[in-house]
């Protein structure tokens, strides 16, 4: 079977809306367009009923006890901001210390940076070569001033799954709140707020075949009851934690996306993992010096992050321009900085500059995987023929012994 170009292989960036989700959303644009906060007429009641049903479904999916634990936001970035800033503001009298990791999403890292400017102390827990956090490091970092620990469920670049259950056992024992940005892992691996003792969870619809522009912060309501200071003032929507008219079609789509994930996750993850492994072998078995970044064991099923030594990531993306992937090297931005996640894992700058993230998902086909593997092998060979570093490597020159002029 022929493949259609371009091929989408960037499912960690976003996912297409599942047709079943879209179908569910449509009436809420055209017929059931009421404002969920309108209490005086049927339009409002219809919208409100849909929103409340969605809350229940999403909270239950996370293992929560009540729909009231779901605070809808514009996405996970806003949820991350609300979690960190909201907790920091509310619990400031209790302590000023927050613990997070070096490989969090920028929505956490930049929020933490701002809080630091406001007088909070932030501890960044490092990760090992496999991209994993050691729970003991978190235990050691907790002080009597610590109010919050924030660790992602799974990393967006290398797909590594963090030991949240062990971390949650520690935060619960120490009486510290635990937040997790669960965006990448949710719908792909089992997750449960009871087992992980998570108190706040950021989630996003568009990473799980729902629409963009809708996310939520799950906030535990009992044992302990988590309090937040709202960061968006207005009509007091979302239990006073996030004002703003609700995105009803988005919320309806989000709930449908969750429902599909709930039913199909086990089977789907098995399938994407098989395809991921096929892609990995299709590339690694035919090329030397291709390194997998991040643990293979504790990893999201659809994530493959490879470094192609002696080939630069952006040139690589240009060579496979009919395949939508991401480069771990942020060369496309003005910063020219390689991925901070790979650097935090101790991957050298040169390999970080040579990394590509492949994201496989619900609609990826085996034919696409075969096509991409073949294309990558061919293009890497071509680019290596053009690479002075590959020539030096072949001549037996240790590239580390060369005195390069940094620029």
């Amino acid at each position: 079977m022929a493949v259609n170009l371009p091929i989408y292989m960037d499912y960690s960036a976003t996912t297409p809306v599942d047709p079943r989700v879209l179908e569910e959303m449509m009436p809420y644009f055209s017929e059931k367009y009421g404002n969920a906060a309108s209490r005086s007429h049927a339009y409002g009641w219809t919208a409100e009923a849909a929103v409340e049903a969605a809350r229940e479904k999403i909270s239950a999916f996370l293992g929560g006890s009540s729909g009231k634990e779901v605070v809808f936001t514009s996405g996970a970035t806003e949820a991350d901001n609300l979690a960190l800033k909201g907790v920091a503001d509310y619990y400031a009298s209790k302590g000023n210390h927050i613990i997070t990791t070096t490989i969090e999403h920028k929505a956490i890292l930049d929020t933490a940076k701002r809080l630091r400017k406001q007088g909070f102390e932030i501890t960044y827990i490092p990760v090992d070569r496999q991209g994993l956090v050691d729970p003991d490091e978190i235990r050691k970092a907790i002080t009597d001033k610590t109010i919050l620990v924030s660790v992602m469920l799974a990393n967006n670049e290398v797909g590594t799954i963090q030991p949240l259950e062990q971390i949650g056992a520690i935060t619960r024992e120490k009486g510290v709140l635990l937040h997790t940005d669960a965006v990448q892992g949710l719908g792909k691996i089992p997750f449960d707020v009871t087992r992980t003792h998570a108190d706040l969870v950021s989630i996003s619809a568009h990473k799980m075949y729902g629409p963009k522009g809708i996310g939520a912060l799950w906030v535990r309501r009992s044992k302990p009851r988590v309090r937040l200071v709202a960061q968006m003032d207005g009509g007091g929507h979302e239990f006073g934690m996030r004002s703003g008219t609700l995105n009803v079609p988005g919320i309806v789509g989000f709930a449908k996306a969750v429902e599909i994930c709930e039913q199909e996750m086990a089977q789907e993850s098995e399938r994407t993992k098989t395809l991921r492994d096929k892609l990995r072998h299709g590339i690694q078995d035919h090329l030397e010096e291709v390194n997998l970044n991040g643990s293979i064991e504790h990893r999201l099923p659809g994530n493959l992050n490879l470094s192609f030594a002696f080939v630069e990531g952006e040139a690589m993306m240009m060579a496979i321009k009919d395949v939508a992937v991401s480069s771990g090297s942020a060369c496309t931005s003005a910063s020219l900085e390689p991925s901070y996640v790979l650097k935090a894992m101790g991957v050298g700058d040169e390999l970080a500059h040579s990394s590509i993230r492949f994201g496989i998902g619900r609609f990826t086909t085996e034919e696409e995987v075969d096509y991409v593997a073949k294309l990558v092998v061919e293009k890497v060979r071509k680019l290596r023929e053009m690479s002075p570093l590959y020539e030096m490597y072949k001549e037996g020159i240790d590239l580390k012994s060369v005195q390069w002029a940094a620029h």
Partner: protein, 168 residues
Amino acid sequence: MAYSNKVIDHYENPRNVGSMDKNDDNVGTGLVGAPACGDVMRLQIRVDDDGKISDAKFKTFGCGSAIASSSLATEWLKGRTLEEATKIKNRDIAEELNLPPVKIHCSVLAEDAIKSAIEDFRRKQKAKRALQTQTQDDPEPAQEAQETPNAPSEGKRSLPIVSSQPER
């Protein structure tokens, strides 16, 4: 990022990819950049006895713009005298390829590679002349001359010389 058609053309059909013997006295080699920064260029020129560049080759580790900049540089170098070659500026390369501001450093690197290759060639020629003069004065200490730092010693592979880059 959208690339200009010229960048895409040079990237997809790079001109003059390859290597020349870096120990050849008529070959000048410039190796600039660093793997940690995401780009390394090696540019080589062969200079005829009449002082003209008869051939140029490159190999580049870097993004599409870096590959295109070095490919274009080799095209422009062929047939020029060394003096004319030094007149190729990064601005000319950036203009020809329509490089966006974030990719200007690629053209700077190409200019550095040209300069570095010319320097390497001149250094070799100077060492060769010094060796010839010494050999004429006294046929014995030819062995010694090989120990001078600028003279590439045969048999022992010297690592490429990496030029430093101007500050920007």
